[in-house]
């Protein structure tokens, strides 16, 4: 489903932050992406989301070479990917319900067609009573769950999560991990970028370790 071949990335004229990255992920896999701060985890996630272009090498997503794709096709591929940002990126002027429904609205679906799904999902992530609340009044954990709900509402084939447990207590982190495992069981491939070893130890999943721009799968 995802194939990286000799991918390198540098910002401007700076040094390479990713070097000769090679890996192949199959459909329905579950991976942790780890490494020290500044190792290039977020850059790798941005390459997966096609928000950056590699300086060299080839990236194949869902069987397509991303380098050749025009902008509308890249947007269509992005619809098959759900992303959970480290800083949540919820829109402050929209309610929790509207934030979660945003991808479906963007896909051009009518509100009536997805209204029930959004409500059910929010109840499933434990935000049933916070649907009309705005992000500024949500706690860190609630924002995180809203961001996860937004990432999965479009039933993505691939879920990327950047430090999804960075702002929550260990108990909430375990709950969120169980949520990701449950999504994976339903068929979604999951990549969680984290340097929380306690979290990784709770799940027997392969680890993609980035160190000084080099990737090793353990």
């Amino acid at each position: 489903m995802i194939r990286f071949e000799n991918v390198g990335l540098r910002y401007g004229l700076g040094p390479e932050v990713l070097r000769d990255v090679d890996f192949h992920l199959v459909r329905g896999s579950f991976h942790f992406l780890t490494g020290p701060s500044g190792a290039g985890k977020t850059s790798l996630l941005r390459l997966l989301l096609m928000s950056l272009r590699p300086s060299r090498g080839l990236i194949h997503l869902f069987g397509q070479n991303c380098a050749d794709l025009p902008s509308p096709e890249r947007a269509d591929l992005r619809r098959r990917i759900g992303i959970v940002f480290q800083d949540f990126r919820l829109l402050d002027h929209l309610t929790t319900w509207e934030n979660v429904a945003l991808p479906l609205r963007v896909f051009g679906k009518s509100e009536a067609s997805y209204s029930e799904d959004v409500t059910d999902l929010l109840k499933w992530v434990g935000l049933g009573d916070r649907m009309t609340a705005y992000p500024e009044v949500l706690s860190g954990g609630e924002k995180q769950r809203a961001a996860i709900a937004r990432a999965v509402i479009g039933k993505p084939e691939l879920l990327l999560a950047d430090e999804p447990t960075g702002n929550v207590d260990p108990n909430m982190a375990n709950r969120l991990l169980r949520l990701f495992i449950e999504l994976n069981r339903l068929g979604t491939s999951v990549i969680i970028a984290t340097h929380d070893f306690q979290l990784m130890d709770q799940c027997d999943a392969p680890r993609m370790v980035l160190n000084e721009g080099n990737l090793e799968v353990r």
Partner: protein, 335 residues
């Protein structure tokens, strides 16, 4: 036509291009409240930057409409003024032989009325000629003692005007002490004045237009910068560039139309009140008449108000296009 052929039928073309236009969305939102979505708009409707932009647009639109209206009125007045003076000539009869004077005025009038290309001949009476001198001589008995020349106003056919040199020669060969003034020198000077006024007006209009464009583009860019996060989130959740651009175009067009209408409405009120203000300021009687003669009636006709509509359309389009450019610029940094 090629555009239409891309679609299966005209209905698909209409749905994809015409009804999807931001102008249609904004007009719908202005006339039908129920046309709005149940969810909040994707682009934040009321932000600090958005409110500042609204104020800037309203003020600049007001100033642009005031300038456009003023230039339009000056231009119209100058044209009317010039048309009036160009369609009239004056014949002056010098009172040399007092006994035959009235008869001579009548003969000259009849002679002029027979000439081709002359529509109307209006000889001024002795009292009317005296009235013309009153502003300079006042109500004096000396006026009746003076040999005041008699004027004959001649209105010429604008469609087929007579050859004035032929009329002048015919007058001079048939009557003594009669002169024809076709206002050529006055017309030439007036033409220079009206052209200068029109050019000056257009120069001011261009300056105000440039200031309006610069202010609106700058304010829209600032408002767009505060929306960067929304654009990025939409991009990451899979929105196409066209969708994001359309959302922002709709939002900024809405701001542009509403604020522009406020500015244009303010300017319209000013122009509706202007004739009343001018009447009050100039007082009554002769002074008011002279003032009106000089600057016109200061009444803006429907074409002038149509000009305000054009200003609103230009201003709103400018907002829309700047936001579109802003969206593509931000998206380019992510693709």
């Amino acid at each position: 036509m090629k555009e239409i052929l891309k679609f299966d039928n005209i209905k698909a073309y209409w749905a994809e291009t015409v009804t999807a236009s931001p102008w249609v969305a904004v007009i719908r939102s202005l006339v039908r409240r129920e046309a709005r979505a149940m969810s909040a708009p994707i682009v934040q409707p009321a932000s600090v930057a958005g409110r500042a932009l609204t104020v800037v647009i309203a003020i600049m639109c007001f100033l642009a409409c005031l300038t456009a209206g003023a230039v339009y009125i000056v231009n119209q007045s100058a044209n009317d003024w010039f048309a009036d003076i160009a369609s009239e000539v004056t014949v002056q009869v010098i009172p040399v032989e007092a006994a035959e004077f009235e008869k001579k005025v009548t003969l000259v009038s009849l002679f002029l009325a027979k000439q081709a290309g002359i529509v109307k001949v209006s000889p001024l009476s002795a009292e009317e000629s005296g009235e013309l001198l009153k502003p300079w001589l006042g109500n004096s008995d000396a006026l009746s003692a003076l040999p005041v020349p008699r004027l004959i106003a001649v209105e010429i056919d604008r469609a087929s005007p007579p050859d004035m040199s032929v009329v002048r020669r015919a007058l001079e060969s048939n009557f003594r002490d009669v002169t024809l003034d076709d206002h050529r020198r006055w017309q030439s000077e007036l033409r220079t004045v009206t052209r200068s006024m029109a050019l000056g007006g257009f120069a001011v209009l261009i300056l105000v237009g440039a200031a309006t464009v610069a202010s609106i583009v700058s304010a829209t860019k600032s408002a767009m910068a505060s929306n960067r996060e929304i654009i990025e989130v939409l991009h990451f959740v899979g929105a196409r560039e066209r969708f994001i651009a359309h959302e922002f175009e709709k939002h900024f067009l809405n701001i542009g139309v509403r604020a522009g209408l406020v500015g244009a409405l303010g300017a319209s009120v000013m122009f509706l009140l202007l004739p009343v203000v001018m009447r009050v300021l100039s007082g009554g009687g002769l002074a008011a008449a002279e003032f009106r003669q000089l600057v016109g009636s200061a009444v803006l006709d429907w074409q002038g108000y149509l000009l305000f509509g054009a200003v609103v359309v230009v201003v709103a389009s400018l907002c829309m296009l700047t936001s579109r450019y802003g969206v593509y610029r931000i998206l380019k940094s992510h693709d």
